[in-house]
Assembly symmetry: C2
């Protein structure tokens, strides 16, 4: 019975080697019969959101956002829970030098595990789904496998990656980046928290007891594959009334910090023409970055802006702001970067780019300098994993029209995982397309549907691998 | 001899009543013979700058700025020094409910004192002269009077006003404003420090022991006149190679806080057209405020901007910024305010004001709201005090061409003092017109020249009053 899981009885599970010679590829009827428990998934998810609860936005019990910055005290609590829970579900645990936690459930044979992965850290003012859903769906998978005493062909695992958001330590996906050996351990360990604090990733890993002893590297912890369930964080699935996104890849992005240096001066006694107003120039640069993004069909966004000295009657002499530039193609991001650098320098020198200085008083010259904080090239996922997700999505929804092929606008740890193993992702709808916002919301039904597709994708891949 | 002060000998001082019947008005030869001690003035000034030393900008001993926010620990140290020093110079001390400190040296007769006043608080990243020079010149005056055992007709005094800058508690000249009964004690006491701290003026006055027992009011502490020596903080005297500004009044200004409310969203997965980017709108508003200022020959400046949540990959849903609007005429400031409010609302609604949205992607609507933080109308000083300053400036410089009639761009406590007694000010040149900057600089010679004019103005007024 397809309701067998409800009664906790064991579903007959056909060992793959018995089937692997069949021409039609591995059978998946038994896999398709396994069902996640929506109530348990959502209850557990909301329970873990008591560590780092954020802003209230509605009157319901779960109508609050999350504020669980990477390696904070509340992140430690969520991690401790993850370790306890996966251990009790029969997993072996490993923590690497970036605090990435790998929970692996043994299979019939030895070999690298097929992973479901995501992250437990959140934005400073984030929601209950971004990252968290992916980890909790992985744990629900482990529970279902245990409930039904399923033996997989190879090990399967769940991985919690550190500081995916890049919100506290300003490189996103930094710890999967170290695992992929695309980012050096030294760079990552020395990353300082945003906002002028003195904590580094290394000092915080030590402080909360998650500086693991094994190297953070795909060489030490190889993966057979990496699947990630995530909320879309955009408006497309909802707009098209679709349920599952089959993610083929991730757009390119680069993060910069732009410093503007002018001169502190009195707001009341300094004529407009005598000023080198760093905030006025920064305001023009931000205004212009949006026009360039429109022109290139790209995205440009500023999320952090700080200034000194910060007094009502002092013209700021110094402003620093972040610039997050994205586009589907690497070449577009590169063209944006070139245009931005050229035009920012011209605006700093007082050139009237596209009429932006019309009606303005010419100012004293200012300096603009750039730092590249991180580069994430466009990524294409693996056809085998994409096929596993599509097959699972069609099987679970029973309707191809509910399934959409997509490219992710946001970066994910699957980007770095995909450099060293086959990988793909599953998206579920985000209400109003909103994410990085306390009001981020995905319905329990959609969360469970996504978790179901995740579990099936992992098990299909495991079966495919054994039969291959 | 005019060098008598150098030798510390007593200058013959003619009692005014012996002269007051002369047709030519009071004689001032004896007053003009009194000279300030430039070395002592500057040495004392720099000594007091050890309380709250700020950023270093050069290699010289005094090449550092100041950071002595009102009612901070270092402000307390400077105040304690002020109290000790003026007491030892024979003054009676009074502290009022705003922490204003009045040091009064008795004269031949009873009556309200003629004051030299200014402030010891500084900008967070300010210089060694703004406010400080005015107080130190007042103390040098007391020293000269003591050295020469001068008896004035009426009492003369030095007043240190609290939080003139408005940098920590965001109403400038707030304590002279309470003294003038233009600002209520309650409003002032409840003023909260900028930047999200919880300290109020009252709590900080209590903490540092300067919550005085007498009412802060011109009724409790009437003044015969108020003179203030200050650095110009602008470029005019230097540009014209002039030495003394005779200040006839102060331009109008208003301070606002503008709040922009949009929606937090993901920078990577939120299409430009789906955004309500509070920082992008704030950038356009700041850009536009400068265009309106240019149009009205006014000033508009933003010195503080804060945003939430503050993450590289989250579009800020909320931005708050200050707007400091100034012009010589009240009507111009009122017209600026009307234009700003109209255009900000239009830009928030997506209207393309003067082409500012050319090339931009239309956005979701945002909210803009305004709060008026303070209003300082245009001020005209008193003809008697202006005359005393001009006569002193001409006598001290010996050259009318070195003396300039001016209007102040910055507000000063003399504005509020002038509501309840005759008042005027004396400006000395600011190097490069720079103020509210660690590099603020006025030469020792110019500081002494200004102090000399201040002392003479006070003594002339005292004499004028007795003879009047
Ligand atoms: N999914 C997600 O929010 N990742 C953070 C990295 C990014 O900004 O795209
Ligand atoms: N002189 C001075 O800087 N006063 C502060 C008030 C103002 O901003 O004008």
């Amino acid at each position: 019975s397809s309701k067998a899981w409800l009664r906790g009885t064991r579903i007959a599970f056909t060992p793959c080697h018995a089937l692997s010679t069949q021409a039609a590829g591995p059978q998946t009827k038994d896999i398709e019969a396994l069902k996640v428990n929506q109530g348990r998934l959502m209850e557990t998810l909301h329970k873990t959101c008591s560590w780092g609860t954020g802003k209230r936005w509605g009157s319901g019990a779960n109508d609050t956002g999350m504020s669980r910055l990477a390696l904070s005290d509340t992140d430690k609590e969520a991690r401790d829970w993850f370790v306890d829970t996966t251990s009790s579900l029969g997993c072996d645990l490993k923590v690497d030098a970036m605090g990435n936690i790998f929970a692996v459930r043994p299979g019939r044979r030895e070999g690298p595990a097929t992973f479901a992965g995501s992250h437990l850290d959140t934005q400073p003012s984030g929601g209950r789904y971004d990252g968290i859903l992916g980890i909790l769906a992985g744990i629900e998978m482990l529970r279902v496998l245990k409930d039904h005493q399923v033996e997989t062909e190879f090990p399967v695992g769940v991985v919690n990656w550190t500081n995916e958001e890049g919100a506290r330590f300003p490189i996103s996906m930094v710890s999967s980046g170290v695992w992929a050996e695309d980012i050096s351990l030294e760079t990552a360990h020395n990353l300082r928290e945003v906002g002028g604090g003195t904590a580094t990733m290394r000092s915080e890993l030590e402080r909360i007891g998650y500086l693991g002893s094994i190297p953070a590297s795909y060489k030490s912890t190889p993966m057979a594959a990496h699947f990630e369930l995530h909320i879309e964080q955009g408006p497309l699935l909802e707009a098209e009334k679709q349920k599952i996104g089959v993610v083929h890849g991730v757009q390119a992005y680069r993060w910069f910090t732009v410093d503007v240096a002018g001169r502190d001066a009195h707001t009341g006694s300094t004529p407009l023409g005598n000023r080198a107003d760093a905030l006025l120039l920064a305001a023009r640069l931000i205004t212009h970055s949006h026009r360039l993004a429109t022109k290139h069909s790209a995205l440009a966004s500023t999320g952090i802006l700080t200034l000194t000295p910060g007094s009502t009657n002092t013209i700021p002499g110094h402003v620093s702001f972040t610039l997050d530039v994205r586009a589907p193609a690497d070449s577009t991001v590169a063209a944006m970067e070139a245009d931005l650098k050229r035009d920012f320098a011209a605006l700093a020198a007082g050139k009237n780019i596209l009429g932006l200085l019309d009606g303005a008083t010419p100012s004293k010259p200012l300096d603009v300098s750039w730092r590249t904080d991180s580069v994430s090239p466009a990524t294409q996922f693996h056809p085998d994993c994409i096929a596993a997700v599509r097959a699972s999505a069609e099987a679970v929804t029973g309707d191809r029209k509910l399934v959409r092929d997509m490219t992710s606008g946001a970066g994910h740890d699957t980007v770095y995982a995909s450099r060293h193993c086959p990988a793909s992702m599953i998206f579920v709808p985000s209400k109003n397309g909103v994410s990085h916002n306390p009001e981020e919301y995905t319905s329990p039904e959609d969360c469970a549907l996504g978790a179901q597709v995740l579990m099936q994708s992992v098990l299909r891949f495991d079966r495919m691998r054994a039969s291959g």
